[in-house]
């Protein structure tokens, strides 16, 4: 962001430029800053292994904010993220004469979203893999994410965020998300990094990797991804594992492209390994 940008906007105060251990494409950085300025959730989609979840961590590090992660499972309900009311404990306490039974607030436990809203300072909230949950899940959170507040009827209390958290939502596109929800988000699709960006990414993780090894490995990696018949294409995280394996294994660099040692690290399906063997002959 330029210095002449209106100082009132959030972007002027803190903008994301990527961090030391995470290399982001300029478009992605752009989208993050758009989402932060507009104060809307940023919805991130992309191939597995393109660093969707890492992004939130990196934003948190770069802006020096606390990160709260809410991982969604297939049984997660929207309510779980807001608060839970431990009625059983309260009943016990009332039956066995515990102290402070009248104070319902004692039995209210905030969920991850509730936690995020009740912090004094701004935090980064990651809602990870939102598409895992039921179809209505995102719709149930519309109000909460729009207004950054929710009401607890039991205590007649409203939990409201003092500073709007930066909300990052990731999706693996297992299900479609409801329109009403999508309309409230800023959307970014992380493309698979190209060779130059990939080199940069690998260097962030392995600063001491040998040039020739890196070069050969990346070349072989992209050739493998280019084979149409391979079903589960290797992703960044697999490449990183592979490069580590190659470095530790002390493999002769000239053999990498020809023989693809430790190919099992890259390809996880038997069929794919077979395809690779026939293609590389």
């Amino acid at each position: 962001m330029d210095a002449n940008v209106n100082k009132n906007t959030f972007a002027a105060k803190a903008s994301f430029r990527g961090s030391a251990d995470y290399v982001a494409a300029p478009e992605l950085i752009n989208s993050v800053n758009i989402a932060m300025t507009l104060q809307k959730p940023l919805l991130i989609k992309g191939e597995p292994g393109t660093g969707k979840t890492m992004l939130a961590q990196s934003i948190a590090t770069a802006l020096d904010r606390e990160l709260i992660i809410w991982s969604i499972k297939s049984t997660t309900k929207a309510q779980d993220g807001l608060y839970g009311y431990d009625v059983v404990q309260r009943l016990y306490d009332s039956q066995f004469g515990g102290q402070g039974v009248d104070d319902i607030a004692k039995y209210i436990k905030l969920g991850r979203l509730g936690e995020a809203f009740s912090r004094e300072e701004q935090i980064i909230l990651l809602i990870d893999e939102i598409d895992k949950a039921d179809l209505e899940f995102p719709n149930d959170l519309l109000w909460e994410l729009d207004q950054m507040e929710f009401y607890i009827p039991e205590t007649k209390e409203t939990v409201r965020a003092k500073t709007r958290p930066v909300v990052i939502i990731t999706s693996n596109a297992e299900k479609e998300l409801p329109d009403a929800f999508l309309r409230r988000c800023v959307f970014h699709y992380i493309e698979f990094p190209d060779q130059t960006l990939m080199e940069e990414i690998v260097r962030v993780h392995f600063p001491n990797v040998e040039d020739r090894l890196l070069n050969q490995a990346i070349k072989a990696f992209y050739r493998l991804r280019g084979i149409h018949a391979i079903q589960k294409k290797p992703s960044t995280s697999e490449l990183l594992d592979w490069i580590q394996a190659l470095t530790l294994g002390g493999i002769d660099v000239s053999k990498i492209a020809r023989e693809l040692p430790f190919a099992g690290v890259l390809l996880k399906k038997n069929e794919d390994l077979a395809v690779m063997q026939t293609q590389l002959r």
């Binding site: 478009e27 989609k45 009311y85 479609e176 959307f187």
Partner: protein, 397 residues
């Protein structure tokens, strides 16, 4: 402001809502596009487009709209600049120009090239001959070639006309039970659970019961909830008769797997011959008595349905491009147009072929296959593919 851009996006099939548009305006107000035209492009895309599937559509509209702005019209650039709140006219103009050239990537050029090709072909069709190699229609030599097709088709004995008379009646329901387990397992994945379905509250909600009981001073109070149910609705369209006869058992096992999978919210099965036309049929016998209008289906069966079309996609390509030759009254729309209407209505649509037709593409019957393949997502019907296809059906492609 930039109203026309908004309407152009909508006209080109991007479902941009007013609130998203206002968000963009707000973003412009906050100065998010100060860095220039590229920045503006990314800003508009991330605010207006909500699926990577639509990125390409957006790119095209963007080019279509801003090419005029940047290069031909004098009036609009000023408006653009005002809108961008950027007084530096010269610098900005240059930026826009450069970025547009960048934005015109190889794919775009290839697309324009194809369009040019298409135009040329039309001209040639109007003329006397056209040497068709592997273009959009391998039967490019219009009038004459169609005659050629007829002759060729009849001699190969696969012409619909010939088969139509001797069409065997095949009811997939009557086939003997096959091992359909693997197909069924694939269909299991076609699900999207929700507890908002219209159903009575029949399931004991344990959490709420505990809660209600505690609120009730420990006296038991039961709470019931609606069960979580699959909300996926499926429409299966099967080609019947003619060249499909040879694939009877494969289609039967698919059919049985679908009809045994009772987890769908709704299942509709219709039949057609070769390609979807003005009528669909309720039984594989394809008789007029059991027909219903395709228009009716399109109007009454909502777009939420997942559509699986099963057919060998091998036919005389005039059925796709012209009205169809064996019906007395030529349809107002041809096969491809009907298919397109289906695709517009049902975003989740795949075509499964019983055999791999890729080898046939250069052959006579393969022409229709390549036409269809270009129009819809086509896969070979195998257990493994079905699993992948069903993954695709869960998200619109």
């Amino acid at each position: 402001m930039f109203g026309p851009f908004f309407y152009l996006l909508r006209a080109r099939g991007l479902d941009v809502s007013l609130s998203e548009w206002l968000t963009l305006v707000e973003a412009m107000d906050k100065g998010l596009s100060h860095a220039g035209f590229t920045q503006f492009y990314y800003l508009a895309r991330s605010v207006l487009v909500k699926s990577e599937v639509d990125y390409d559509k957006f790119d095209r509209v963007f080019l279509e709209f801003f090419k005029d702005v940047a290069f031909t019209s004098d009036e609009l650039p000023q408006e653009l600049l005002d809108w961008l709140n950027n007084p530096d006219h010269e610098r900005h103009g240059d930026l826009g120009r450069g970025d547009l050239a960048d934005a015109l990537d190889n794919d775009e050029i290839a697309r324009m090239f194809r369009e040019r090709l298409l135009e040329q072909k039309e001209e040639h069709n109007g003329g006397t001959y056209w040497i068709g190699t592997d273009g959009a229609s391998p039967f490019g030599n219009a009038g004459e070639s169609r005659k050629g097709i007829r002759v060729g088709g009849a001699s190969q004995g696969r012409m619909a006309m010939a088969v139509a008379g001797a069409r065997r009646y095949r009811d997939f329901r009557d086939d003997t039970t096959l091992n359909t387990r693997s197909f069924q397992l694939a269909f299991r994945r076609l699900r999207q659970f929700s507890n908002r379905v219209d159903a009575p509250r029949t399931e004991l909600d344990i959490n709420q019961t505990v809660r209600a009981t505690c609120d009730n001073f420990g006296f038991l109070k039961l709470v019931f909830a609606k069960p979580r149910k699959n909300t996926v609705k499926l429409m299966l369209l099967m080609d019947s008769g003619g060249s499909m006869d040879s694939y009877g058992s494969l289609c039967a096992s698919l059919f049985q797997a679908v009809s045994k999978s009772n987890h769908f919210k709704d299942l509709k099965v219709y039949y057609f011959h070769n390609c979807i036309k003005s009528h669909l049929y309720k039984s594989p016998r394809i008789t007029y008595r059991e027909s219903l209008g395709t228009d009716w289906v399109l109007n009454n069966i909502d777009g939420e349905y997942r559509v699986i079309i099963v057919g060998d996609a091998l036919m005389d390509s005039s059925e796709l491009t012209a009205g169809g030759y064996f019906s007395q009254r030529p349809d107002a729309l041809n096969g491809l147009q009907w298919l397109r209407r289906f695709k517009e209505r049902y975003r989740h649509l795949v075509w499964l072929t019983p055999e791999n037709n890729d080898l046939l593409v250069s052959r006579f019957w393969g022409a229709s296959y390549s036409l269809i393949k270009r129009e819809v997502d086509t896969h070979v019907l195998t257990v493994e593919n079905l699993t992948n296809v069903i993954k695709k059906l869960m998200i619109a492609r």
